[in-house]
Amino acid sequence: MLLGPAIDLLLEPFAYQYMARAIWVSALVGAVCAFLSCYLILKGWALMGDALAHSVVPGVALAYLLGFPYAIGAFTSGIIAALGIAFVRRLTMLREDAVIGLVFTTLFAIGLLIVSINPTSVNVQSIVLGNILAISDDDVTQVIVIAAISLAILGLKWKDLLLAFFDESHARSVGLNPWLLRVLFFVLLSACTVAALQTVGAVLVIAMVVTPGATAHLLTDRFGMMIGLAMLIGAATSALGAYLSFFLDGATGGLIVVLQTLVFLAAFVFAPKYGRLAARRSARRSAEVIR
């Protein structure tokens, strides 16, 4: 029988505790990031997400250097980035993208500098590219806490967030505070960026908080369904990416993001209403009607 060894081979990653853990932690992070991605892409805040991801690097580096939980460091520098962007924007006539680009690259550079001066404290690669396979117990706890709290808040507030982002004036007229909801969203985004840092690294976090939402948006016109699909895509691709990295001996982050892109491409071509094939079909149909 050839089947036996094949199955053994496929199950082999689960025999290692670190692999099993990497797979489900990745899935959890993928799901939360995907939830947030639905709002991010609708509001056109993708660049903001990228900025946050890069800006947390100096915080993480300092946290490792001084020996306090990296989530706190990352979170602090994320907030500093957001405030810095708001501050420079207010005081100059520069456009928002220029300000964001300026602030986040500065913070990222400071982070790289700190890491390079203290090479023993932390591996640059594990921040920039992530290293889920070597995640420590403490870090796993942090990721779980962040993900659980974020999911709970999003589960409670997803409709309020949608309303505040869709039509701010109306949100006010039903007694919501759009400003507070926006702050809440960016706090959650920073927190989840920190969680995703371990999985895919600072450079690729942007894909985790953009691609699943973008894919789901091509597939549905209902926001609740969009969130569900995005989370499914995020969790499945992250788990599969971690699993495959065992065989391919490749970077987990790279694999996860490539898988997400493949799903996106499939939706781009085959989506029932907004896919290219559907667009062709309806173009042909209207051409026939004219004829």
């Binding site: 609708l42 409670l156 409709k159 309020d160 949608l162 309303l163 982002f165 869709f166 039509d167 701010e168 004036s169 109306h170 006010r172 007229s173 039903v174 007694g175 919501l176 948006h217 549905t220 016109d221 209902r222 926001f223 369904m225 969009m226």
Partner: protein, 294 residues
């Protein structure tokens, strides 16, 4: 349904609203509106109409003076869901994956629990509102797929579902065809007859005498306000718009071969024109033919 709600009113008492750079967008504005009213807010672009709306909606806080809605401070009135807002088309992102019925359901959020799970009453209110604006058959369309007029009707349905006694409409006729304009006006009239207060920002001069019983003429401050018949006059409009209106007058001798001194005056800023007819200073609003094609 909920008829034990406070009587709708808007009291704007000597407000001044300034931008962060200190320039006053609205200065010493005062007016008062009561129930069963459709009031037009008329002024040129940049006259501070939007600022006034934002102040009534509590987005901006006046640096002097006060706004009271149904006798309450703005924040308290908003908490009670007394004010609904129909936004300008540009304020809404039409790409959002929300269906027509989702938009109308948003009107019910103030009535729902913290998880916003709709109850039977909420669904019924949405059905009823959609039915009333004639959009029931479009309920599962994505909101961006509708025409300009249909979108407006959906947002009016949301205001109906919200059950608010006061409705603010920002330029409701922009990008709307003539037929839909009449449909919207009919709906506004019906809502007025139910006791609501509708405050409509518009620069569509011609339709104002058609459906508004009150007018506020605005340019940084209130230039004039009161019943349409006595306030919406050529002299007041000239003051509100400066030289920005097209002005066509056919005087008695051009119109008649007799001593009849009545004359026709047409005022327009390229939307529907305002037409006045009668002897000097006794001119009345004329309702021009509303059909679209000859």
């Amino acid at each position: 349904m909920m008829r034990d709600r406070p009587t709708p009113s808007i009291e704007v008492n000597d407000i001044t609203v300034s931008y962060s750079n200190g320039v006053a967008a609205v200065r010493n504005a005062t007016f008062e509106l009561g129930p069963s009213t459709i009031c037009a807010l008329v002024g040129i672009n940049g006259s501070g109409k939007s600022t006034l709306f934002k102040t009534i909606m509590g987005f901006l806080t006046p640096s002097a003076g006060s706004v009271r809605i149904a006798g309450l401070p703005v924040k308290a009135a908003l908490r009670q869901g007394l004010v609904a807002y129909v936004p300008q088309s540009e304020e809404v992102d039409w790409n959002f994956p929300v269906l027509v019925e989702d938009v109308v359901m948003m009107g019910r959020y103030g009535h729902m629990n913290v998880l916003r799970i709709p109850a039977k009453a909420d669904r019924a209110a949405v059905d009823q509102a959609l039915d009333r604006v004639g959009m029931s058959e479009y309920r599962t369309r994505q909101i961006g797929e509708l025409s300009g007029g249909q979108k407006k009707r959906v947002f009016l349905a949301r205001a109906l579902a919200q059950g608010s006694e006061i409705v603010l409409l920002d330029e409701p006729f922009t990008g709307v065809d003539v037929k839909t304009e009449s449909a919207i006006i009919d709906l506004l009239r019906a809502m007025r007859d139910e006791g609501r207060l509708m405050f409509v920002s518009t620069h569509n001069l011609g339709s104002v005498p058609d459906f508004c019983d009150q007018v506020v003429l605005f340019n940084r401050t209130v230039l004039a306000y009161g019943p349409t018949a006595t306030t919406f006059t050529e002299a007041n409009l000239a003051q509100a718009f400066g030289g920005l209106l097209r002005h066509v007058r056919l005087s008695g001798p051009d119109l008649h071969d007799d001593a009849d001194q009545r004359r026709v005056t047409v005022l327009t800023d390229d939307e529907r024109p305002l037409v006045l007819y009668g002897e000097r200073d006794q001119e009345k609003h004329v309702n021009p033919d509303r059909s679209e094609t000859p």
